[in-house]
Symmetry: C2
Subunit: 410 residues, 2 copies
C-alpha cells in the first residue's frame, strides 16, 4: 500500500451488496506488513461451484499449483488469501505450507481441504510462515460475516494505492442475481491469463463447467488485454465462485440462453477490475488505450497493440506528455507483424498526427499537446491492410515506477 493514491483512481467506490451464501473476514497476521490487514478468509455455503484461470508462467507459485489441481472438482467452501508473501519459488517448503494452510482453513470451514482455494501475493522466494495463519484462523472464522467486500479488497493489496472492487446485477430466469468482484494488481502486470489476484462472487446457481467457460471468455478482452510492464506474475489467479443462493434457476450449460444477462454482467465486472488494475499501475499517471485497426487479423492487431503498449520508449514519451508518434512507428515495426509504412496512420485522441506514412499535412502541435496533457489518452493506429482490430489498456512509464521497483524488497 502506498501513501499516495494513483491520480487515475476512480472518484467513486461503489457499494457492494452482500451475496447470500458468502461470509468474509480479514485479519492483520503480520506476514510482512504491520498496521494493516493482510489475510482474507471467505467462507462459502455448501453447494458453491467454482471456476478459475491461472498464470501460464512455467514457474508458478505453490498456491497456483494447489488451486489448479483442485479446480477440476468445481466445488468451493473456503478461499484463503494473503498479501506480503507470494509463496512462490519456495520448493518443498512451499508445497508443505499450502497443505497446512488449506488444512487450517478446511477445519475453520468444516470442509475437505480439496474444497479450499488459496492465493498468495507479495515477495517471491521467501518461505511462508504457516504459524501466521494459525494465529488468526479462529478469529477469522468467528468474525466472518456477510458483505465486507471492500475490506476484502483492502486486505489483499500489495503496492496497490486503492482497493479495486466492481459490482453488477443480472437476471436469470426472472430472478435478480448479484456479481461482486475484487482485485489487486499494480506490478508484474501483463496479459497472460488472469493478472495477479482477482476474485468474483455471485449468488447465481451455475454448474462449474459453465462457470469456467464464461470466466475464460470474459478474460480475453479484459485481463488478457491489459499490460503495465509486460511482466507476468508467477501467481496470476482469477476465480469465480457461485453460491446458488439467489433463488434463480440452476443453469447447467454455458450455452443456455438464460445466461445472456449474466454473461454480460460478468464481463462488465471483470472488465472494470482489469481497468482498475491499469489505473493503479505502479507509478502510473496516464491511462492509455491502444487501438490497432486495419491489421491482417485480430491476432496480428493484438500483437502490434502489445508491442506499442509494452514499449518503454512509447510509455516514457507519454509520461513526458510528448506525442512522439515516431516511437509508435518503431513499435509497429518491431512487432514482426505485416505492416506497410506508407499506409500507416496514427491518432492521439481525435488528432491525426500521421497519415499514410508521413506527418499529417494538417499536424497541429497545440491540439495534440492538449490531448497529451489529459490523464486518459487514446492512441490509435490504422494499418490499412485488413479488418483485424484489437485494443489493449496500459499506462505510462514514470520515474515512480522505477522508484517503487528499485526498493520494493529492501
Amino acid at each position: 500500500m502506498s501513501a499516495v493514491i494513483s491520480p487515475l483512481a476512480p472518484k467513486h467506490i461503489p457499494d457492494l451488496p452482500p451475496i447470500a451464501g458468502i461470509r468474509m473476514a480479514t485479519a492483520a497476521a503480520g506476514i510482512r506488513y504491520t498496521g494493516r490487514t493482510d489475510v482474507l478468509l471467505a467462507l462459502f455455503d455448501e453447494g458453491t461451484t467454482a471456476a478459475g484461470v491461472f498464470t501460464r508462467s512455467k514457474c508458478p507459485s505453490a498456491p497456483v499449483e494447489w488451486c489448479r489441481a483442485r479446480i477440476k472438482y468445481g466445488k468451493a467452501r473456503a478461499l484463503l488469501v494473503n498479501a506480503g508473501n507470494a509463496n512462490a519459488f519456495t520448493g518443498r517448503k512451499g508445497r508443505t505450507a499450502t497443505r497446512l494452510t488449506a488444512a487450517l482453513a478446511a477445519k475453520a470451514a468444516g470442509c475437505k481441504p480439496d474444497e479450499v482455494f488459496l492465493a498468495s501475493t507479495g515477495v517471491i522466494g521467501e518461505p511462508l510462515d504457516v504459524g501466521k495463519f494459525a494465529a488468526v484462523m479462529d478469529d477469522l472464522r468467528a468474525c466472518a460475516a456477510p458483505g465486507r467486500f471492500l475490506e476484502a479488497a483492502q486486505a489483499i493489496m500489495t503496492t496497490d494505492t486503492f482497493p479495486k472492487v466492481a459490482t453488477a446485477r443480472a437476471v436469470i430466469g426472472g430472478t435478480n442475481v448479484v456479481i461482486n468482484g475484487i482485485a489487486k494488481g499494480a506490478g508484474m502486470i501483463a496479459p497472460d491469463m488472469a493478472t495477479l489476484l482477482s476474485f468474483v462472487f455471485t449468488d447465481a446457481a451455475i454448474a462449474a463447467p459453465a462457470l469456467h467457460a464464461m470466466l475464460k471468455d470474459s478474460v480475453a478482452d479484459t485481463f488478457n488485454a491489459i499490460t503495465v510492464d509486460g511482466d507476468t506474475s508467477t501467481s496470476d489467479t482469477l476465480m469465480l465462485f457461485a453460491t446458488g443462493k439467489s433463488g434463480a434457476p440452476r443453469i447447467a450449460k454455458a450455452a443456455d440462453p438464460r445466461l445472456r444477462s449474466f454473461r454480460w454482467a460478468l464481463r462488465q465486472v471483470v472488465a472494470r477490475l482489469a481497468e482498475l488494475v491499469v489505473r493503479d499501475g505502479e507509478g502510473a499517471r496516464k491511462l492509455v488505450e491502444v487501438t490497432v485497426e486495419g491489421a491482417v487479423s485480430r491476432a496480428s492487431a493484438r500483437r502490434i497493440a502489445l508491442s506499442i503498449a509494452n514499449s518503454p520508449l512509447v510509455k516514457t514519451a507519454i509520461a513526458g506528455e510528448d506525442a512522439n508518434w515516431g516511437r509508435v512507428v518503431m513499435a509497429v515495426g518491431k512487432a514482426g507483424e505485416p505492416a506497410d509504412r506508407d499506409k500507416l496512420s496514427i491518432w492521439f485522441g481525435d488528432v491525426r498526427v500521421a497519415h499514410r506514412g508521413e506527418r499529417d499535412p494538417n499536424y497541429d502541435e497545440a491540439r495534440v499537446t492538449a490531448v497529451m496533457r489529459k490523464p486518459e489518452i487514446a492512441l490509435k493506429v490504422a494499418l490499412g491492410l485488413g479488418k483485424g482490430r484489437d485494443r489493449i489498456l496500459t499506462c505510462d512509464l514514470t520515474k515512480e515506477y522505477v522508484t517503487i521497483n528499485g526498493d520494493y524488497r529492501s
Copy 2:
C-alpha cells in the same frame, strides 16, 4: 549528447590508426543540434568493397531502404551519416531526401550515387532538409583527411554520452591489416540485426560476399546479443568497408583459411562496439551480463536470457542494487520456454542465491549486497534441463532513462 558521462564509460579511449584508402570529414550542419558536429562524410578509394546488415523493422527508415537496395552491388565510394534526424517515416519526402543527398555525396566523391551509402539517426517523422547537407558538402570534401575516427564517432552521437570506437589488427597472408569501428547507440536498443548505427573500416582486400558473410557471423553474439530497452530502431545499420589498400592478398571467399586472424579481429571490434553501446545505455548505471545455461537448446537459452534482460522488474531491481532473484524466476517463467522450477539455480556474481527451486540454504545477504553494489554484475541462471547456453548484455533501468525519454523530442 549529454553533459553527464555514463559511469560505465571506458576509462581509456584507444587511438585509432589511419586506414589507407579512407578520408573523413565532419561538419556542424545544424540539422537539429547547435554547437556540435552532426554530419560525417567518409570517402573511399576506388575498389572499396562493402557489406551491411540492417534493421528487421517492418517500418525502416528511408536511408535503410536506400542502402539495402545498393549493398548487393558490394561497392562503396562514400558514406554520409547525420545525427539529429532519422529520416524515418517521412514518406515520399524521405525517399526524395535520400536521392538528393546521395547525389550530393556522389558529386563530392566523384562516383555514382549507387556507390554512396547513407545513414541517419535522431527524431523520427520530421522531414530531413537536404539543404543542410548542400551547405556543408564542399567543406566536407575539401577537408576530408586520413584518420579522424574519433571525430567521426563524435559526429554521429545522439543521446550517447561518449564516443564509441574500437580497433584491432589482423594478419592476412603475412601482411598486417587494421580494423577500426565506430558506433552510436543509447536508446531503442534491442537485438534485431545491427543496433542503431555502426561502421567498421579496414584496409584488407576482401570480396563483398565474403565481407558480408563474416559481418553477419560477427553480429549474432554481439549486436544481436545486447538489449537496453527491448525497442528496435527503424534505422539499425551496421556496415563494413574494405579498401584493399593494405597490400595484403585479395581474398575472395569467407571460408579462406587466411581470414582466420581477420575474422577473430573483426569479432573483437564488433563485440567491443556492442558492449560500449550497452555501457552507454540511456540512464545506465550497471552493466549486466545475463547467462542462461542448462536450457534445452541455445535458442531457448537466448529467449530466456532476453526475457530476463528485458524485464522492467529485473532491471529496476538491479538499479536499486536489490538481488531480487524472485523477479528472475518470474522472467524465466514468462519466457514460454521449457523450465522446471524445482531444478532452477540462480547466481548474482559468484553468490548462489537460489538452488533447485528454493532460496539457497547458505544464502548470505551481505555477500550478495556487495555484488549488487558493483558497476558490473553477472547474473547466471542454470535450468538443469540440457546443454543450451547463451548470454546477453544489458543494463539497469533507472529514473534517468525515464527522464531522458520523457522529454527527448520536446
